[in-house]
Symmetry: C2
């Protein structure tokens, strides 16, 4: 018991500011463009769907942003989250590497998503918003925002991607328990939903469609704003509390990671852990940062960096990002949270700048490593998280081959207790790998040729 298994940060040491990487990037992020004029959007354009205080954060370039006291108070319900050392996994791998992970599964919703749900609900509350509309894929974000809206007394409507809505009924119950209203998307409640259902009555839905519905709801319902759980700058900002805590915790055990790993769907848990370390890297520190994504949805590893819409109905601004195309139809894949066509513009820009190495992992490899994790460390990871685990195990095995000590830090973004059907399917041999077709990427590229290049 000489080296601790868990490193707890005292509540009094919780970070009181978020870190904004916009202040340190070698190349500033390109501006979002108006979907109609294709000119840079200003705060006023965004204020139709977001409260102005969040719009200000979205365009803010200050390095540090204060966390409001009422937000801190709610974050303390579960934060600082513990940093764990995966000693049993290390032993099972026989690796000289040390594997640390921050356990975001300890939040009430079971993932990192409440880190931004709570401040988003708070900023809306003080702005005067009465009701929020949002979308959710696998349900992590919808659950987290339900929890946060309940804490601040806001109403919430969640548009949940149909296939997940059907496959994961417990997620809906969770949102109801926290007082939210959840419907399957596409729904009959919006023009966007009705249009898609008319054309594709059996569609499994997609995040892009659900975003279109939630935005339409927000702009057509009084006192309602829209909230997004990933991709945008203010979301990445809120998540940096993860990495800031991890830096303090690593210092408590006199260590610093050689490798920092997160899984990447829209980019928020990845950014949350990695941005404070990328700040160190920009300032000369030697740290390798890996974004792990599914081979079935290879946004960073195979999709181009260009301007694309965030949603299917082309209602959002054009964002400068790696994208598989806004009409992307997600392949069958149990990591629902990683099935988005686009990627955070900040993360995309940092990949372009060579500060992040993206890697893709196949589903079966991820489940194999998730099972190894569950059977050594005990905690059952979310399917999304298993991509980060696959990368960490790959690095740990490499360290063994090379006979090198190495410190690996991964973001354990959430538990898989609501996703056990995926494990059962894997154990029953029902899952397979899927390589995203090149012609689909080419088609998306062609369709986006009419828009400006970043």
């Amino acid at each position: 018991m000489s080296e601790p298994t868990k490193i707890f940060l005292n509540e009094s040491e919780i970070p009181r500011q978020w870190y904004n990487i916009a202040a340190d990037m070698p190349h500033a992020m390109k501006p979002p463009l108006h979907p109609g004029t294709q000119q840079p959007v200003g705060p006023d354009d965004l204020s139709a769907i977001f409260p102005m205080n969040l719009v200000e954060q979205e365009v803010c370039t200050d390095r540090w942003v204060d966390i409001p006291e009422p937000v801190l108070e709610k974050l303390l319900l579960w934060r600082p989250s513990p940093l764990y050392r995966a000693k049993n996994l290390e032993k099972a791998l026989g690796t000289p590497a040390k594997i640390y992970y921050n356990n975001e599964g300890v939040s009430p919703a079971g993932s990192h998503k409440p880190n931004t749900a709570v401040p988003q609900a708070y900023y809306n509350k003080i702005f005067g918003t009465k009701r929020l509309a949002t979308e959710t894929g696998a349900g992590q974000w919808g659950s987290a925002l339900s929890f946060a809206c309940q804490l601040f007394g806001l109403e919430l409507k969640v548009y949940m991607v149909r296939i997940s809505f059907d496959q994961k009924p417990f997620r809906k119950m969770m949102m109801q328990t926290w007082g939210a209203d959840c419907v399957a998307s596409p729904s009959l409640e919006t023009a966007a939903g009705r249009a898609i259902l008319a054309e594709h009555p059996d569609t499994p839905g997609s995040l892009g469609i659900a975003i279109s519905e939630a935005i339409e709801d927000a702009v057509t319902t009084p006192n309602t704003k829209y909230a997004l759980g990933s991709v945008l700058n203010h979301v990445m900002l809120h998540q940096t509390i993860i990495g800031l805590e991890a830096q303090k915790q690593m210092a408590m055990v006199n260590d610093y990671p050689d490798v920092v790993i997160g899984c990447a769907g829209g980019g928020s848990n990845f950014a949350g852990l990695s941005f404070p370390f990328i700040c160190d890297k920009i300032h000369g520190k030697n740290v390798h940062v890996i974004a792990a994504e599914p081979a079935a949805c290879p946004t960073l590893t195979r999709a181009p960096f260009l301007y694309d819409f965030g949603d299917t109905a082309k209602m959002t601004p054009l964002l400068p990002m790696h994208s598989l195309g806004h009409d992307f139809v997600p392949p069958p894949l149990h990591a629902g949270g990683l099935r988005y066509h686009g990627m955070s513009p900040l993360v995309s820009q940092l990949v372009v700048d060579g500060l992040i190495e993206p890697r893709s992992y196949h589903q079966l490899n991820c489940y194999e490593n998730a099972l190894l994790w569950a059977r050594t460390e005990g905690f059952i990871p979310a399917p999304e998280t298993s991509h980060a685990i696959a990368a960490a195990v790959e690095e740990a095995k490499r360290a063994k081959e090379e006979g090198k000590e190495k410190t690996i830090l991964l973001n354990w973004s959430g538990h898989g207790l609501m996703d056990l059907k995926g494990y059962a399917a894997y154990l029953a041999g029902e899952l397979s790998d899927y390589e995203y077709p090149q012609e689909d990427i080419d088609r998306a590229l062609a369709a986006l040729a009419q828009y400006p290049k970043p």
Copy 2:
């Protein structure tokens, strides 16, 4: 943020001994009796189903029992568990009371059950057992033992009460993820199961039946022992790590509880938190200890204290306990873990001795309070835990009425993420209360008249 929301005990301060209340009880527990001879059973009788090292713990009267180093190492995967202050709930109630709770939901299996599953697997491993058989009700125990057996490389067969097996398919998937084999009970795999199915093909099953099956499996399969997740003395012993940690954590904030509360099914989470405090009470400390049970299964509040079997097939020794009768058929109730006919003999004796106040709570009241908890503190409690919450809220409201400061400590025995159907049913108005019929208690009493009285 002056008073902390969470109190973390450093890993180096984890208790290294369990507390054995047998050393301090005003009246020693009456001995279990052999089902055939009705004479006190000795260690040899128990060694048919348990390894001798656990049998020795079962009859041990030493006040302190060392926790083996390999057990501590595995407990450190999640322990010490954090002590939380339920500030948001206090605020919502407007009470002057302080409400603390130890969060046992942070374990990989999501409840307090791994606290005894891990040592039971360990002791079996070093004894030479290759395989364990056990039963589970709602699935908390079966999951926890699957996790623990995986850590120590033991095979496991779980007999899961049919109604829960059907209602909670995720539990089976969880056990499979940790490598265990889980079947619905009654099953066709044991003589006990076949006999019950022949007579009642549509039976929902019961813990008593599942115990009979698991014991039969253990005594008829080579290298196999039986494991029980509650009721027995060694289980209560292992769980005391909860209360021992809580005592250290309360001392860290210079506080001590006026009231200690746990929900009680077989008694283990209740005993785990309360026994170290009952030790203080026996030695003069003023602390009120409340066991909260369902009105639908009122073992401590309405059932007699007598000798009864632990299982339906009358294979176990006769135990001195409060019991609703071994042929008890559980009423519909979402708190599956509290549906056992009997109660820990240690807890029963302490109730007889007036050291514990039992109280019963109706289902709708429990869900109402569980929902209040989820909407203030965020974490969604297990239906079992909601009974402890109902008692804590009752005490906090009384403190408000009386205008008294009061420190309440409750055992938050597990999360309800696998039990969301109960919340959905409650929110849909589909649940009702159930008063256990007096004639059923009278009938059980009459059937047990032939056995000795404790």
